[in-house]
């Protein structure tokens, strides 16, 4: 009963924010940046599951995002319009009908991405760390090249006209979902197993932890949320192009979790926000933007490699203090 109440409360707050935010921030540019922050948070926190908690090195996140994006876009553009029209015809308000379509499309997109995660994870998680990195990078590139060659979903022209169903509610819902899944996972038996794998895989295996199973689970869950982020992104920008899903994108997400501290959910959130805002802040020096970004990355690694938060989390009890995680 308490759980249902809590869920209802959270949903209520999200609806309120969804209504309030556009009023408080009428500037579309700021609004856009905030939405992009949200999507990047989902990407960063989901990648943290694999790279941070389980200590595996995956550089293919953009590939899963692409799968989620394109799948959901094709669904809302080609398969759902009939159903949506039926709903609105029956008197359901637009927002609800569109939201329902988005929800279904997002879940399906995320699921397909998760399936891909399974397909990639099962064979490759046998590989050693650095090899896994390259295989995941390769997988991301293969996805991109395949999309580039499929004319039915636009190829190099891209897919335009994706309905813009994403709004604050859905992005925040995605954030809440990924953060609560991560947090709950971390503080469960599964989480401890994952941390054990990160700290010392051989010892964990020797202690009877089914390492492959947990590694693959982390991979699949992380891929699911990457797909979700992709779907939300597709319905926000209304235009998809394979060039948005290169390995550079994967590297940007990795930079976020490294900056935030791998293994820290709140760190990932803070870093995602910081690194989404940074290119905007650096606009006045736009030619030097990437050079500054690269230099900051190097300086950060040299001076504070554990990132902002290390493996610690922000605690609600003492906002300015830090409580160690499990």
């Amino acid at each position: 009963m308490a759980r249902a109440l809590k869920t209802a409360l959270i949903l209520g707050v999200l609806v309120l924010v969804n209504w309030l935010l556009p009023i408080l921030i009428p500037n579309s540019y700021y609004f856009r940046v905030i939405m992009l922050c949200g999507i990047n948070i989902i990407l960063a926190v989901s990648l943290n599951l694999v790279n941070g908690f389980t200590g595996q090195f995956s550089i293919g996140h953009a590939g899963f995002m692409a799968i989620g994006a394109y799948t959901s876009a094709v669904l809302t553009m080609r398969a759902f319009p009939g159903a949506i029209a039926a709903l609105t015809g029956a008197g359901v308000p637009d927002v609800v009908a569109h939201g329902a379509a988005l929800l279904v499309a997002t879940i399906l997109g995320g699921s397909l991405a998760a399936l891909a995660g399974l397909a990639v994870g099962l064979p490759s998680l046998r590989l050693r760390g650095d090899y896994l990195a390259i295989v995941t990078l390769g997988f991301g590139e293969i996805i991109r090249v395949v999309i580039l060659n499929v004319d039915a979903i636009g190829g190099a022209r891209g897919l335009s006209g994706v309905p813009g169903y994403t709004n604050v509610f859905w992005v925040l819902l995605g954030v809440v979902a990924v953060v609560s899944v991560s947090y709950n996972l971390l503080h469960s038996t599964h989480g401890r197993a994952m941390l054990a794998i990160r700290e010392d895989e051989v010892a964990a295996e020797a202690l009877g932890v089914p390492t492959t199973r947990y590694k693959v689970t982390a991979f699949v869950v992380s891929a699911f949320f990457a797909g979700v982020a992709g779907a939300l992104y597709a319905h926000f920008d209304s235009y998809l192009n394979p060039s948005s899903f290169t390995f550079l994108r994967s590297i940007e997400i990795i930079a976020m979790i490294v900056l935030g501290g791998m293994g820290s959910v709140s760190g990932a959130i803070l870093a995602a926000i910081a690194l989404t805002l940074l290119p905007e802040v650096l606009r006045p020096v736009k030619e030097y933007r990437m050079v500054i970004y690269a230099t900051l990355l190097i300086v950060l690694m040299i001076t504070r490699p554990s990132g902002i938060m290390g493996t610690r989390e922000l605690s609600l009890r003492w906002p300015w203090g830090r409580k160690a995680s499990a």
């Binding site: 895989e201 990437m290 690269a294 190097i298 690694m301 040299i302």
Partner: protein, 300 residues
């Protein structure tokens, strides 16, 4: 048949280029367990230094064999210095940190070189000076090869043999091998690991720069982003051959070059970039340590 042979020639030429770059990756990985993402950009740096050197030394106006050698030597030296600087200031401070930190640093250096290159060299592609006149040589059976391609093959083989000599027959080489097997033991035996690591980086950078100059001669258009794809593919080549293994890098490079060319020519040219990775995944699935790599037992 003629087409196949021609494709083979193309493949072997590119294979030797990939091999030169892959050697740098494999040596650095063997010693530091670091994937030096910036290596492909050192390749680009070599091409650009050669471009400017050709202008300074007037080789562009008076092409000659000595001029070409001078340009090559300058590029290799310049890149060697760059490799040294990168190792000393970006990688050494993070050597004690986790592998992931070092990897991120490498990515940062790569981005810095690429975007710095765009700033300094400008966004327009440059035309690499023709320090040697291109001549076609007909090998019979309808297969043509240019003198440049033969030069590339010859120079690559020479450099690889030189590397093998250094690694196998010199004291420095022995020290390099020792450090790659067990760094702590090597230090205890009195080897100055810092110096050896720097030397390895410089050696890798020198080879990459040579590859850059050779590619510049073969395909005279150079631009600051030219190192990304060849770097990635050379890295895949090094992994395919067994990373940390020098003959493996050469084998991997050749396999990479030939298979890429054959797939583009006979199957589909649109999937070119993906081929490298499909090859990688297939090989790793069956031989997880690469073709010539030894299975490294993880010690607890």
């Amino acid at each position: 048949m003629q087409e196949f042979l021609q494709q083979l020639v193309n493949g072997i030429t590119w294979g030797s280029v990939y091999a030169l770059i892959a050697l740098g990756y494999t040596m650095v990985y063997g010693i530091l367990r670091l994937i030096n993402f910036a290596h492909g950009d050192v390749f680009m740096l070599g091409a650009f230094i050669a471009y400017y050197a050709a202008g300074w030394f007037g080789v562009q106006a008076h092409p000659s064999a000595w001029g070409a050698l001078l340009v090559l030597a300058t590029a290799m030296t310049g890149a060697g210095v760059a490799g040294f600087i990168i190792e000393r200031f970006a990688y050494r401070p993070v050597r004690k940190s986790s592998r992931l930190t070092a990897l991120i640093t490498a990515i940062g250096v790569s981005l810095l070189l690429e975007n710095g290159g765009l700033l300094v060299f400008g966004t327009d592609p440059r035309f690499f000076p023709q320090v040697a006149k291109v001549e076609k040589i007909h090998l019979g059976l309808g297969v043509t090869v240019t003198n440049i391609q033969l030069i590339i093959l010859a120079v690559s083989i020479l450099l690889m043999l030189a590397l093998r000599w250094i690694v196998m027959s010199t004291k420095v080489g022995k020290a390099m091998r020792a450090v790659s097997w067990n760094r702590d033991a090597a230090t205890l035996m009195g080897i100055d690991t810092d110096r050896i690591i720097s030397f390895t980086f410089v050696l890798g950078a020198v080879l990459a720069a040579a590859a850059g100059v050779l590619v510049g001669l073969m395909n005279p258009k150079i631009d600051p982003l030219m190192g990304i794809m060849p770097g990635l593919k050379a890295f895949v080549a090094a992994v395919v051959g067994g990373i940390g293994n020098i003959p493996g890098a050469v084998l991997g490079g050749l396999i990479m070059g030939v298979s890429e060319v054959l797939v583009v020519g006979y199957v589909s040219s649109t999937y070119r970039d993906a081929i490298a990775f499909v090859l990688l995944i297939v090989i790793l699935l069956f031989r997880p340590s690469g073709l010539l790599g030894k299975h490294q037992a993880e010690k607890v």
